[in-house]
Symmetry: C2
Subunit: 230 residues, 2 copies
């Protein structure tokens, strides 16, 4: 079984190894919302042979049940049954499987009983820095990655302590984050990007992002130091 990182959105940012595995396995599993298409599947759709059995892993939008144990339990049983029948399975994962990815919940359920190989992918972290033309971190900078849902007090302290920061999964937490950045006098150091490497990629000053308007796939980079690479 494989957990395959497929990169941040641009189908060309899939690795050769991911491609080989996606094309060779008889069963493909992919995450999706409760209804509608799977972004992960769309990223790799052009590369698929069209002959595979597919296992959708559909996640209801119920923040109170995080992680949604029964969805992962059910998916692990279905994947395990395929593996027991001798059919290898690739689970595709946006970005990288082990960088804040939900794949780890399947990994936790399956890795003790089956051989699971994780194929690293291009993460949104470096894809956003590339799209912004802004090196993430240099020399002895400490890089801090902060999930957007983190509580405001903890996030504030992390921002105070940091050299370079990537705030990921900004989404509905944008207003809280913008206020913290403003209060700390870091607005001029912050860069906002959404849907990096996808067709709808947008880059904006954080002052120009509308309230409640940031999608899940958005990130804010904050650099405190000068551009040391110049």
């Amino acid at each position: 079984m494989y957990g395959v990182g497929i990169g941040p959105g641009d189908p060309e940012l899939v690795t050769l190894k991911a491609l080989r595995i996606l094309r060779s396995v008889p069963v493909l599993a992919w995450p999706a919302p409760e209804e509608g298409p799977s972004l992960a599947r769309e990223i790799v759709a052009e590369h698929l042979p069209g002959t595979q059995r597919e296992i959708p892993i559909r996640m209801p939008l119920l923040p109170a049940r995080f992680p949604a144990d029964d969805v992962y339990d059910k998916a692990a049983i279905e994947i395990g049954a395929a593996l027991d029948a001798g059919e290898d399975v690739a689970v595709i994962c946006e970005g990288d499987p082990f960088f804040y990815g939900s794949f780890m919940y399947l990994y936790g359920r399956l890795a003790e009983d089956y051989t699971v190989e994780v194929i690293p992918g291009v993460s949104s972290l470096t894809a956003c820095a590339a799209a912004l033309g802004s090196p993430l971190s240099a020399k002895n900078d400490v890089l801090t990655v902060i999930p957007g849902p983190l509580d405001a007090d903890t996030m504030k302290q992390r921002l105070i302590d940091a050299d370079a920061v990537a705030i990921i999964k900004v989404g509905g937490h944008f207003d809280k984050i913008r206020t913290l950045i403003d209060d700390l006098g870091l607005t001029a150091n912050a860069r906002y990007i959404e849907r990096a490497t996808m067709g709808e990629q947008r880059i904006m000053a954080i002052g120009d992002v509308g309230e409640d308007n940031a999608p899940y796939f958005s990130m804010i980079l904050v650099h405190k130091r000068d551009e040391v690479w110049k």
Copy 2:
């Protein structure tokens, strides 16, 4: 001009986009030590058409002159001359160009005068986590990336504050880092890996790494929390 991330070492972890660019540009530039082969060039060697002009960027081992401004000045002039002559140039970069990569020093010298596209790559950060079978970070964990050369007092405080830590560029700083991890009672939480995804990849308990024996391409991951994905 392109800065092309070629991944952590396995030639199969190159992206389709990197491959297309590497095969299409007339000029390829690559970093190398003062003498001997370029690891970056070796990673992509099998993919090259064999018809390109190549620009070696050879860096003397002189820690006192970091960054080695004159090497980057000279390389920027040579790359700029190729671009002025209408020859597009790809600079290949191990891992990702903007994740602690020396490419940023060329970027700083060239991006104001030329169009520079950065192609993100699979970083050693996620490649090490995949090889270790150890998710980097989950849920609302803050992930802290610490360069090995950081002074011991600052590193200690970062380790105390952190949820999940990746210490990169361990190399000659291994003994300092192991002592800090031991002092903080984190030895059982630490995992060591060197040359991830390369033929010589090794994974060890940090107690088993010989003194002064860690190569530059080595990393230590420290997780403080339980395995929340289980």
